[in-house]
Amino acid sequence: MAPTVSLHQGFVGTAMRFPDRVAVIEPGRGSITFGELDRVSDRMRDRLLASGVAPGDRVGLYLRKSIDSVAAIYGILKTGAAYVPVDPGAPPARNAYILSNCEVRVAVTEKRFVERLREELALLKSAPSLFCLDEVNGGEGIARALDAADVSAVAPPGETCYPGPDALAYILYTSGSTGKPKGVMLSHENAVSFVDWCAEIFEPRFGDRFSSHAPFHFDLSILDLHVPLKHGAAIVLIGEDAGKDPQHLAKMIADERITCWYSAPSILALLAQYGALETLDLTALRLVLFAGEVFAVKHLRSLARQLPRPRYFNLYGPTETNVCTFYEVVLPVSDERTTPYPIGKVCSHLQARVVDERGRTAPAGEQGELCITGRGVMQGYWALPDQTARGFLVEPDGVRWYRTGDIVETDDADDYIYRGRRDRMVKRRGYRVELGEIEAGLYRHPSIKEAAVVSLPDEEAGVRIVAYLSCRDSKRPSLIALKRFCSENLPLYMIPDQFVWLDALPKTSTDKVDYQQLKGMA
């Protein structure tokens, strides 16, 4: 069999072979088979083609997680365009910026988002076509919207496009230090090489049921969606509501007989503490994968004690490479252990090296920045050639090494150990957050004269984000007013945990904000 080069090729092949298998389950709302998902995504493809979408375009995805949004993703991929998922819970202005920045031809969205989205897009002088669902609901929403569009003009049947390896499959926007999110461009080859690496290690099979806990704008979703659908396994979509209640979530893992769980460690820590796991039958679970931040050992120990049967993997990697190193945690987690587990060894489709400040290979055992090259590494940032150039170390032989910004060292077993960042990026609940983007958001408040944001280690949450502010006016905004302002200007995971007002921020001798002193004050 010829190697797969397009991300949707595996799914289409599986749908042809096993049309009656269940592909996606949306608990409480229904499920869809491979065959039906293939047909609905064909119809979505045809509708997008009729709207003028062509290979090489971008199509926005502004939908809540659902069977409808999975069908939309595959419909977009089948046109040869790249999908650009945005966070439906993020401020509409941020989402409009993303859709306008990468010049989507069409955005697939829901009625509830349309009015604000149109307003915000108009401010940016951007007017992509909107394909609007009344709402998402177990696949019925997209089917109804396609039926309704066919009433005015039937979309002629088109062909599925299988773009080459360098064509973009999706663009994921991550926090940007200048206050604007930046688009990480991932090609079909990037995605397929990652999906195939996952298959090599996790051996997805018929009968597997993968959790889809991460939202689709988050890179963890690439494994959740595309690994099971290529290999004939099912996906169980976990909605945002369930994620708020660990007892309910744990029950869902049991009731849906989930076999492979993948999420940020923070949700696993909540499950370990509040999930009442001992009361449930979780014997179907064979894999627990976690990524996005450091898993506090005490919570991992507690989880592994309650669930000793699955294999546990710590996956590491920035959006720019997706997972690039991995480590299997061998149980039990000893009582003495307090240091987090290593991030492990490089994945087989990539290569890694550790460099010093001048970009030279660091001596064995010394700390340095982890750099990655290979088939999984992004092409660059959308329309940001300078940031793209700064993101890579290019060798004289032309090999581009992506600079992760993460400082690592190797241990005696040649596993990489994460030591910290070289810049102002932090991970919070699995999301990466540029502290500069939070500051830029705070500066939009008319009363804020100065803003400086620091992160501090926190045993429970991983990091705690503190904003130090000074005010232009004599009356400072209330904490409630500040939080509400943040909710309108920043994604939820970027809102500081604490706000501290000062008469003026401390400065260094060169009149820059003294972050070290601020950290000391916390």
Binding site: K244, D245, H248, L270, S478, L479, K483
Partner: protein, 83 residues
């Protein structure tokens, strides 16, 4: 005591999530979830507080802004669960 639920919830939110805030700023209609006072973990802690204090059980779909976005809504939900 018709307002006991409201005042108990208000005290809990002020103590847990808004330390140092002027209590007068937190009204019955202040948006809690959509106003970013309660994130998902804070919402979970609030739900545990409601369940333990009033001996009720909330389903996952009930832990949404439709039911929990203001103190008035929360009090209404607790009342309906007790009925």
């Amino acid at each position: 005591m018709p307002d006991s639920i409201e005042s108990a919830v208000k005290t809990f939110i002020l103590n847990e999530f808004l330390p140092g805030e002027d209590p007068a700023e937190l009204t019955m209609q202040t948006p809690l979830i959509t106003g970013a006072i309660l994130d998902s973990i804070a919402t979970m802690k609030l739900v545990l507080f409601l369940e333990e204090t009033w001996g009720i059980r909330l389903e996952a779909h009930e832990a949404s802004p439709d039911n929990l976005d203001t103190i008035a809504l929360i009090a209404g939900l607790v009342h309906s669960k007790q009925a």
